[in-house]
Amino acid sequence: MTKRFYIAIFKINARRCWHLHGPKAGIHGWGAYIPIYRLPLSEIAKVWGWSPGQYEGLDVVEKAVASSDEDSVTMAYEAALNAIKRARIEPKKIGAIFFGTESKPYAVKPSATIIGEALGITPYTMASDMEFACRAGSEGLRSLIGMVDSGLIEFGLAIGSDTAQANPGDVLEFTAASGAAAFVIGPSENASAIVEDSVTFVTDTPDFWRRATQPYPLHGEGFTGEPAYFYHIENAVRALLEKTGLKPGDFDYAIFHQPNGKFPVKVGKGLGFTIDQMKDGLVTPMIGNTYNASALMGLAKVLDKARPGEKILLAPFGSGAGSDAYYIRVTDSIEERKALAPSVGDYLDRKVLIDYGMYSKARSIIHVIK
């Protein structure tokens, strides 16, 4: 009774306080980066003795691999540079940098300051690294919306970037990939798209974790599915639909976190979205799961294509576990910004296939005594 009572109150308040939606903020610039190397999943299967059936069901063909001279910080820099180019703002105007990753080069020492310094944003800025498995970058995005709307800062930079780790030979290795996505958040005026509303849904669900001194994460196999990924995304999206009064059919695009090619399509269909709404936001089938950049790169790819007035649903997910759901509306200002930086499609097309040996070298799987 209590639960139904609260839902009823929530519905009444949501309708009565229609004008209290938000807070709102604008996406001024967006950018992505995908390293050039691609490892076909068949290479992993060949080395570890997996049958093709083991990876074919994942709906992923190749995964993007960062080179020896790349890490989550260098990729974040590339993506953020593209986002700032599209935002057409002075980097110094950025008052907060939130860097979401689970593969930071330093356990202690912020990576956000390295990125901020390289981009010319420092010194009058907030800068911190966020941790929430794959949705840390999204937590940064949602925080910036509030900070911009409150007037604490004028612009902020949210980045999701990962060189995802996986224990060699574990099923996780098939999809753990590298990539970055970044967004310049600012006032609604002159923005390319406006984040009209957002919701976050988190619980203590240990589906995937890595202890501080461990090189690779552990996961609860099937437990990462229904009780984690599906439960949290479904609840976040339903709460957003309830809050905004929108229906799945009202959106032109729906983007979900993409641990593989199968899960986002399954969760989307379950929520009432069609494959037509989802196909433009899918990147994992081509490059694997870029963790913090996974859903955010899907958003970057959709913004590369979206027309003024179109509506986007975005739902990142992070293990441990939680999901955000955003309602984003595209504005007239988007068109003039699209060509100011390379698109996600440009990075998807730019690729060099490598074998497991080269991948091992690039990702330091081979131990070398120096």
């Binding site: 049958s51 609860g220 196999e221 099937g222 437990f223």
Partner: protein, 380 residues
């Protein structure tokens, strides 16, 4: 002495992440108790779990569960005989009634296999085989059945694809069973193409890893009110359970022995249906051949031709979907088999119904026959 099955409780085999072994046990126990009307008169709890100390870090699970479900004060005992635990528990319950140590025994079979990652469960399942000869060498849980399957195929010149009709039949039966874990149909040609566990055994040749619980109330003639079925006889036998030690590994010696004992004390002709221990595809034909239901080397052909199925001649085998597709929560499985058989006989089974089912045979073994149990259930 004949004993009676009164109430039964079943839960769907699956990944019950949110429920502990005690929760699962309580659910099915309450369902069974509800059917008999009241808990009064239950004077013994026989629990059946093989992995509780390993998955749930719990010893004396029977003692803790009896208090947990509100039966503090009754006597309680856990029975462990590996995969045969469930039918061993029913057998102990029957002995308690026969010796007038109890009048009404609640038997609960419950097992969790998903408390940890599957690699840990696979390690634990190695323990079903002789540890000196198997787990000591880290030999996988499907290895013995794989060797047996290869030997069977070579000895009788049976094709791998012919054997694949068994898992397909089990999936088609389980589709109708609301308590089954794998409720989807598969075509026989998919079996050999699925992931290899231990060549020639593939994923679709093996039982799925799932949690489950089943309960039955076993009553003596003096106290029974509304029985679903009666357990006429249970027999069991130990065996070598090691294929390399047997003169004839293609017959389960302990099962043959137990079945002979049962035949000597009860009429085992005209069986309408059976629930058998098909942990791996190969185990099913060897069970059928061990008890003489098929000529040696011929069971796979009969299965492929449609015998033992809903459209074939009686007995119908594994209307539940068997271990293969209903699922195999190790210590709970035997209790599932007895509960399903009792419902089948009383006409209340919610899956595939056997026409005019009066007599059912339940077969349960551990590993490849270190222990074998056979039970005959009949209509009242």
């Amino acid at each position: 002495m004949v004993v009676y099955i009164e109430g039964v409780g079943l839960t769907k085999v699956g990944r019950h992440y949110g429920l502990s072994i005690k929760d699962l046990a309580a659910q099915v126990a309450f369902n069974a108790i509800e059917q008999v009307g009241e808990p009064e008169g239950i004077d013994y709890l026989i629990f059946s779990s093989a992995l509780a100390p390993l998955q749930d870090n719990q010893l004396d699970i029977a003692g803790y569960v009896s208090s947990y479900i509100g039966l503090r004060g009754i006597r309680a005992l856990n029975v462990e005989a590996g995969e045969a635990s469930g039918l061993a528990a029913i057998s102990i319950a029957k002995s308690l009634l026969e010796s007038h140590q109890a009048d009404k025994v609640l038997v609960i079979g419950a097992e969790k296999l998903t408390e940890y990652v599957s690699s840990k469960a696979y390690k634990q399942l190695q323990m079903l085989y002789d540890s000196d000869l198997r787990s000591f060498y880290n030999i996988g849980f499907a290895a013995d059945a794989a060797l047996l399957m290869r030997l069977y195929m070579n000895t009788y010149d049976v094709d791998r694809e012919t054997l694949s009709y068994w898992p397909a039949l089990m999936h088609s039966n389980a589709k109708e069973n609301p308590y089954a874990m794998l409720r989807f149909a598969i075509k026989p040609d998919r079996v050999s193409k699925s992931q290899i566990l231990a060549d020639p055994i593939t994923l679709l040749d093996a039982y799925p890893i799932g949690d489950g619980a089943a309960a039955v109330i076993v009553s003596s003639k003096d106290v029974v009110k509304a029985p679903l079925a009666k357990v006429t006889a249970i027999e069991s036998s130990t065996g070598l359970g090691e294929i390399e030690l047997l003169d004839d590994p293609l017959i389960f010696d302990s099962l043959l022995n137990a079945y002979r004992k049962l035949s000597s004390i009860a009429d085992v002709s005209q069986i309408d249906f059976m629930e058998i221990h098909d942990s791996f595809t190969i185990v099913a034909p060897i069970i059928l051949e061990s008890i003489g239901l098929a000529e040696r080397g011929k069971a796979p052909e009969l299965i492929a031709e449609g015998h033992f199925s809903l459209n074939g001649d009686k007995p119908l085998i594994n209307p539940s979907g068997g271990l293969k597709a209903r699922g195999h929560p190790i210590g709970a499985t035997g209790v599932y088999q007895v509960a399903e058989s009792a419902l089948q006989i009383s006409g209340e089974f919610s899956g595939i119904k056997v026409d005019n089912a009066r007599r059912g045979l339940v077969i349960s073994l551990n590993g490849l026959g270190s222990n074998s149990y056979v039970a005959l259930l009949e209509g009242v």
